[in-house]
Symmetry: C2
Subunit: 155 residues, 2 copies
């Protein structure tokens, strides 16, 4: 399976970045997964939420091809890990060649961007920092691929 993950800007926390890297390496032993750090809105006051989201949506847009797009979003659908694995398993046989996950930045994703996604996923009822969400997503992809490949996965 081929995955693409888009998120605005580099992960600032270097320790989280190191964990991301190790998950990516493990995922890439079973499939192909590439992270694209898209344009991040910088130097704009947090009060201008809409402007930040608009700039970052335009940056994400550039990397969207004819992919199956899954946006991570608070109000998305929650799945158990088993459901998520089945979901990815079904996608593996679909016509779309690449599954593209999109994780919003510091202020989240623009609504209109989320509306055009094929699926909208929520990792938890709780809100986690966008940098931690990146890691949680990678862990779930790794977990699901391990199951789909018949490997045992550390709990």
């Amino acid at each position: 399976m081929r995955f693409k993950i888009l998120w605005p800007g580099k992960t600032r926390n270097k320790d989280l970045r190191a964990v991301e890297k190790s998950y990516l390496e493990k995922i890439n032993r079973m499939g192909k997964c590439e992270v694209f750090e898209t344009k991040e809105a910088k130097g704009i006051s947090e009060k201008n939420v809409d402007r930040i989201k608009k700039i970052e949506a335009a940056g994400l847009e550039k990397f969207i091809k004819d992919d199956y797009i899954i946006c991570l979003y608070d109000q998305g659908k929650e799945m158990s890990s088993k459901e998520f694995t089945r979901f990815l398993g079904r996608l593996a046989t679909s016509s779309k060649k690449i599954v593209c996950f999109v994780v919003g930045g510091f202020m989240g994703l623009e609504d209109s961007f989320v509306e055009r996604a094929h699926s909208v996923l929520s990792l938890s009822k709780m809100t986690f920092s966008h940098e931690l969400c990146r890691l949680m997503l990678l862990e779930q992809i790794y977990r699901s691929l391990s199951v789909l490949n018949g490997r045992q996965y550390a709990k």
Copy 2:
């Protein structure tokens, strides 16, 4: 507010451990939170799940005092971050002096241990590695304390 967190053994991933440490430092600027690495069942085949859980439950037990016990458990109650914050806010005024979170090890928590908890919490419908759960819990405690202390928290 005073928190105690119990989990069996040290976090093996050094990068996750570094992130844990930085969250703990941030939490301790607003409250008091101590992590106790309890006895971990080692050298036992994973097939002996019940034995592993029993050994680790006994190790956790030693650190349980007259605390308000919250176990993290797959089948626990999911809360939004707002609900979790309100929940901690209420606990701050309760008769129990310390809120004690318990996170299971590699094989999870023993059912009988979970049954005696005052609350059972699930961080997500998805299953995450126990080491990642530790981090997710710390992030939520930090997020909630920031709100309860009237500070702005990075999204």
